[in-house]
């Protein structure tokens, strides 16, 4: 079977949607030459300069141009090279795009996508390694997608482009090289708002997003050797959140480990934990545990960066702690 990398899946989704719908247009820094991560390679050649636009380094203008074009009826897909740079256009995203439909009583529509590379693990340092889907989750009015597999990268990005709302798609940069079987057929779509149960087991629920899903799966394999069977849930989207799948699993297993790259101080894991503490309280048999990114800016040196990132080992340890009825010691800081 043909293989597809996570990186190629981005281009595949864009290619699929641009071919299908001529209102889909791309913009961003260096997107014409394929982009720094080569995720838009070949698109300008195929679709021409009226569909793929190289911008100056002007994130506010990029996000704002996407907003305006969407308002005017196109379906723009903007690229913010590193998701850390959302900070340079946060006003456009959080104050304009997220609110325009609501605050105009539904007069403005925002069918747009902004893609950005997210996450750490490559030694890119504090300003190029953050996972900032938590920033977006603080703001009602935007959908949030973060795929964990090449298949989902393709299907969810395609669905995001077809979605009538503004969607931020977080592409984990440590996943770009991962490979999987290429989905069959030419058209591929994965609906937004449906979590995937990647693995089934009744002792504990492991919940991940993007790169932490793989950690959950690895941890589940390790736990299986100890006779502990784990559900692994890939959230895929934070908004819309498939809380039903999370709650159903938690009610069945009674034990939950949430694994996020966001800093634990306030990450999406806290939102999930809070929902569980409120709505599944009576079914929980153990504390809701989070394995989160460290509450520090991200360091570069190998051992230090590893220390502040979640890992399969940390997940397995947390799950073992729960199943033995022990509460693991709080993470430092």
């Amino acid at each position: 079977m043909a293989q597809l990398t996570f990186r190629e899946a981005v281009a595949a989704a864009l290619d699929q949607e641009m071919a299908r719908d001529e209102t889909v247009v791309l913009l961003g820094e260096d997107v014409g030459s394929g982009g720094v991560f080569k995720t838009t390679a070949g698109l300008k050649e195929r679709f021409g300069p009226d569909r793929v636009w190289d911008t100056p380094i002007s994130e506010q203008a990029i996000a704002g141009a996407a907003m305006g074009a969407a308002t005017a009826g196109l379906r723009p897909v903007a690229e913010i090279m590193f998701s850390d740079f959302y900070a340079t256009c946060w006003d456009q995203v959080a104050n304009e795009i997220a609110k325009a439909c609501y605050m105009t009583g539904g007069q403005l529509r925002m069918p747009l996508v902004i893609r950005g590379t997210n996450g750490g693990g490559l030694g890119f340092g504090a300003q190029h390694s953050q996972s900032v889907e938590n920033w977006a989750m603080c703001v009602p009015g935007i959908k949030i997608v973060s795929p964990s597999t090449p298949d989902d990268m393709w299907g969810l990005l395609a669905a995001a482009i077809r979605d009538p709302e503004p969607v931020l798609v977080f592409e984990h940069k440590a996943l770009f090289g991962t490979k999987a079987e290429r989905p069959a057929g030419d058209h591929h779509l994965v609906p937004l708002g449906e979590a995937a149960l990647r693995r089934r087991g009744d002792d504990v629920t492991l919940i991940g997003l993007a790169r932490t899903v793989g950690m959950c799966e690895q941890a589940a394999t390790a736990l299986a050797e100890d006779g502990i069977a784990a559900d692994v849930i890939d959230l895929r989207c934070l908004v819309p959140l498939d809380a039903a799948t999370v709650l159903a699993s938690a009610r069945r297993t009674g034990r939950v480990v949430i694994v996020e790259e966001n800093p634990g101080q306030l990450g999406w894991g806290a939102a999930v934990a809070a929902i569980l503490a409120e709505e599944a309280f009576h079914d929980l048999r153990a504390p809701v545990v989070r394995v989160s990114g460290g509450n520090v800016p991200l360091p570069v040196a190998t051992a230090m960066e590893a220390a502040v990132m979640p890992s399969a080992e940390k997940v397995a340890a947390a799950a073992r702690g729960l199943t033995e009825g022990r509460i693991p010691a709080a993470t430092p800081a």
């Binding site: 996407a66 305006g68 456009q92 304009e96 009583g105 819309p240």
Partner: protein, 350 residues
Amino acid sequence: MPRATCVTTFGEVDAPVATPPRAEQTAPDLRDLYERMLRIRQFEAKVDVLYRQGRVRGPAHLGLGQEAIAVGVAAALRSGDFSLGTYRGHAHALARGASEEAVLRELLGRVGGICGGKGGSMHITSVEHGYYGSYAIVGGHIPTAVGMAWASRIRRDGGVTACFFGDGTTNIGAFHEAVNLAAVWSLPVVFVCENNLYMEYTPIGDVIPVERPAADRASAYGLAPLVVDGNDVAAVREMALAAVDRARRGDGPSLVEAVTYRLGGHSVADGGAYRHPDEVAAARTRDPLVRLATEMAQSGEMGVDESDALVTRVKGEMDALAARVLEEPTPDAAGAWTGMWSDGSAAWRN
């Protein structure tokens, strides 16, 4: 490029004009422009009163004295063109044709408000009339306007976008990025800086390193420095026609500085005590309505009696409108939980 001396509220300014007046340009119907300005003036004067009576929820920023810009530019746009403005946006919505009733309902928090009660004064929008919204974050809408023009450019549909903002707004990063991108991509957009000489309570001269907030920045984007007397509705219309024409022809953006004065405070809550009374008094003599009425009286186009009667009629209409809207019901709480998504729903999770 031809240059023209235009008389602004500062005195004479020697300013280049982007394009010569178009051959097919028709003479403006001054009576019509006057009436449009008058309706806006009376509408906002009524809002001022209503605010003081505690009837308006939230802040309101009036454009009293700046009506010639909204009206003059709107007169240069076609239906189907886009425009966007700021929290000081009543005039811009109304000038494009937005319903006075629906706007007032929004301000007074009644059912049928133009934004369904969700926007308030700072977010008046009337997509039906091509007015794509009022935005309350300084400069935040300029990139959006550029995006709308970009869509027109991609579709090659001949559409033009007009974007209004204040003098103080030229200091914010979004202004720079947006005007720059529009210039790089040669987009059909007309940026209109309403230079009312103040950024809230601070004279604009205290916070810019150049003399003219917009015109002195134009060359940074390869654009011509255009200045127009923003209290002269015919001049604004003429400048706007030239800029719109240039945009429609595919020759790219223009940045127009329209010099004016805000007769009231920054918002209805501001008494404007930081301005010398003489300055305000002098500005009143250059009120765009007074000025046009005087001109028309002199030319015989509209006599003083007639314009007085018009004022009385329009004022009466606004009083009646307000009285009627105040009797109307207020929106339900339930509406808050709708309309975050375009299908009318608002749930973020299942």
